[in-house]
């Protein structure tokens, strides 16, 4: 068996590995290289050393975007996970029509970000127009608009993951707790939540990275207005890239910094929630 695996290892791994290399590793390495270059198109870079990174420090919008993104991520991670978990709990109680509800909640996830952004822009502007405001009146509107949009889109997806986690809890555990006289609240706190910890790890990881990397929705909903105040990091990078002649490299350098930040946070989060998981 061991030998067979070894023998066919390349056959199974190579196609994916090649695709992964072309689609991810190569552009990634090229991207890192370009962050040290001055270039117009990606094939004509000239090496300029750390200049691009120095220019990031002069850019106050990058720092603002960083804080704005961090706040947005915190708000969206909390709300999405709490809502998704609550919905998942409800839909594992065996209510009539559970399947329909699950499908309905999952559906928004199938719509692309740009389309969603424009739809919600129309909806929210329609409501705000009653108060003579628009989404881009201040970055606060944009912020909560984005949070609402992201909840609507992602709650369904996270719900599915939580439902599978909840359904995997062995029935005898809950039963034993009930016999011992635990209240529903105690069961939730001491049995359900510890048992779905793996799902929580996955869901927080997904919402955290999604929050940080958010681009389409931001572009379509507010496009950073007013005055770049509702500009998340990814959009800031994009605008740096195209905003000025000769700033393509700076945008690229920001992207590398961005990657490091997201990477570090994702690893920390993974470690933190993993340590809380229990072995069955």
């Amino acid at each position: 068996m061991e030998k067979a695996i070894k023998k066919y290892f390349p056959v199974f791994v190579l196609p994916t590995l090649i695709a992964f290399t072309i689609g991810f590793i190569a552009p990634f390495l090229l991207g890192i290289y370009l962050s040290f270059c001055k270039f117009t198109t990606v094939t004509d870079g000239t090496f300029v050393g750390l200049k691009n990174y120095v220019k990031i420090l002069d850019d106050p919008t990058f720092l603002h975007s960083m804080w704005y993104t961090a706040l947005f991520t915190v708000a969206s991670v909390l709300l999405i996970n709490v809502l998704a978990f609550a919905v998942a709990l409800l839909l594992t109680k065996g209510i009539k029509g559970t399947n329909i509800f699950r499908t309905v909640f999952f559906m928004p996830n199938l719509i692309g970000g740009i389309v969603l952004g424009y739809i919600w822009q129309l909806l929210l502007n329609g409501i705000l127009a009653k108060f003579e405001r628009t989404l881009t009146y201040s970055s606060v509107y944009g912020f909560w608009g984005l949070v609402i949009l992201m909840c609507w889109q992602q709650v369904g997806y996270m719900m599915i993951i939580y439902i599978s986690g909840i359904q995997n809890i062995p029935g005898e555990l809950i039963e034993a707790a009930k016999i011992d006289g635990a209240s529903p609240r105690q069961i939730l706190k001491s049995v359900t939540i510890p048992m779905v910890m793996p799902s929580i790890t996955i869901c927080t990881f997904l919402t955290l990275t999604n929050g940080f990397k958010l681009f389409d929705q931001n572009l379509a909903l507010t496009n950073g207005a007013p005055s770049k105040m509702s500009e998340l990091l990814a959009l800031n990078i994009y605008n740096t890239f195209y905003g000025r002649t000769g700033y393509e490299g700076v945008g690229q350098a920001k992207a590398v910094v961005f990657f490091i930040i997201v990477g570090v946070i994702a690893v920390l989060q993974n470690k933190l929630t993993r340590s809380k998981e229990v072995q069955q």
């Binding site: 070894k6 590995l17 198109t41 628009t134 009146y137 207005a225 007013p226």
Partner: protein
């Protein structure tokens, strides 16, 4: 242990392969070139800037292919995405052979890609060097369309206003200064129910489909007058002498309008065009290119006129419309010889053949700077309005916004204008973005 080593080897190989793939594109390009040489004829790939004429270009390209057998692909970038699309297209093996820059600042980005057009037939057809972008003796770009913008107005509605008993201005001839324009606009706004309109001006939308009308085109006027005073054609630091005038006209646009100033961030270019086309507003700042969007609606062609944008500068009675070009053709130097030749032939055909001239003038409605177009003038009432001003001896306002230091500058001015309009910012922010921003952006883009 062995397995681990195998994985390590594979990963390393993958990374190496990645590097090869990264550099590989160049090799591919060369190969494509030699293939073309074998084939004989080149092909044309035009990345078009003007979405208004997207379909017409595709039709014209097809006509050329039917006639000559040379393949011509036309792609049009969506509004506001030309630079980003050009950047990614130029990195491909099949890069555009014909592309556009918007003026001196755009050329700075792309000059290393521009083929010298000094010996081309198209250059020989250009009326004067005012319509080309040069670097030294090299001709890098050639304008193919001259456009005009101003305040488009609805003659029928305006006449209705002139007939009102308390109208302060009684004829279009007296409407030749900012003060008169303000009187008329205020009057229309006050009588909007009598006139059956929603407002004097169409909504000053600050959505990205419309904000360029103000952060770029309207901002041209204070720049124009300052350049004129200083006797310069570009600068590394603007003074902002005419910013108060800029404020006055902006105030007028947002107060005497079809919508509340704090709603303009959600208004689009289509909103403004439809308000004007349906007769809900009298004035609409836009250019000759807008004719296609507003014709065949409520407003008859003979009711279309265009006013100069008066901002209250000295001597503005003699000011004409804003005329210039931000559409320069450039040929990609890095394309194969055959493709370059095919592109030059295509350009020649467009400006010299009957079919090409017909398409450009009649179908696309362009006024061109080419000598070959004397008998081909577009039937566009807005273009005719411009001719009248020129004949009357008014001085056209040149397009100086092509010297704005960067996209970022325009965006920052636009954001400040919006914040001022909706009351969340002060006019000082516009000043800062305009004056300090100019120096900063100029420095950042030119170091």
């Amino acid at each position: 242990m062995k397995k681990k080593r195998l994985i390590a080897v594979l990963l390393t190989a993958a990374m190496a392969a990645g590097l090869v793939a990264g550099c590989g594109s160049k090799g591919g390009e060369e190969k494509a070139k030699t293939d073309d040489k074998g084939g004989g004829s080149g092909k044309v790939y035009y990345l078009n800037f003007k979405p208004e004429q997207a379909d017409q270009w595709v039709d014209l390209a097809k006509q050329y292919t039917d006639e000559t057998g040379v393949q011509v692909d036309v792609q049009t970038a969506a509004s506001g995405t030309y630079e980003s699309q050009l950047k990614s297209e130029m990195a491909k093996d099949e890069a555009p052979t014909l592309f556009q820059v918007n003026g001196p600042v755009g050329l700075a980005t792309w000059k290393d890609y521009c083929y010298d057009l000094a010996d081309s037939d198209v250059y020989k057809d250009v009326q004067s060097d005012d319509y080309v972008l040069k670097e030294g003796d090299e001709v890098k770009g050639i304008a193919y369309v001259i456009e005009t913008y101003g305040i488009i107005y609805n003659k029928a509605l305006l006449n209705k206003y002139f007939e009102l008993p308390d109208a302060e201005v009684k004829s279009i001839d007296d409407l030749n200064s900012f003060d008169a324009l303000k009187k008329v606009a205020d009057g229309i706004q006050a009588h909007k129910d009598d006139l059956g309109v929603e407002g004097a001006f169409t909504s000053a939308g600050m959505d990205s489909s419309s904000d360029w009308r103000f952060k770029t085109h309207l901002a041209n006027l204070p720049i124009y007058y300052e350049y004129k005073d200083e006797g310069i054609t570009s600068t590394d630091a603007i003074k902002g002498t005419y910013l108060d005038n800029y404020k006055n006209i902006w105030d007028l646009y947002i107060t005497d309008s079809t919508c509340e100033p704090n709603l303009i961030s959600s208004k689009t270019g289509d909103d403004a065009a439809s308000e004007f086309a349906l007769g809900e507003a009298v004035f609409y700042q836009n250019g000759t290119w807008a004719y296609n969007d507003i014709k065949d609606n409520e407003v008859a062609d003979e009711d279309l006129g265009m006013l100069p944008i008066y901002i209250g500068a000295k001597g503005e009675e003699d000011q004409g419309l804003c005329t210039g070009s931000e559409n320069y053709w450039c040929v990609n130097k890095n394309a194969s010889e055959e493709d370059i030749q095919a592109t030059l032939d295509f350009m020649k055909w467009v400006v010299e053949s009957d079919a090409g001239r017909e398409a450009l003038s009649t179908e696309m409605g362009f006024v061109t700077p080419f000598t070959t177009f004397d008998d081909y003038l577009p039937s566009n009432p807005l273009v005719e309005a411009n001719d009248e001003y020129t004949k009357a001896g008014k001085t056209p306002v040149s397009w100086n916004f092509t010297t704005m230091p960067s996209e970022n500058w325009k965006n920052n001015v636009g954001s400040a204008l919006l914040e001022y309009a909706q009351g969340t910012g002060e006019w000082d922010a516009v000043k800062t973005a305009f004056v300090d921003g100019w120096a900063e952006e100029y420095k950042a883009a030119n170091e």
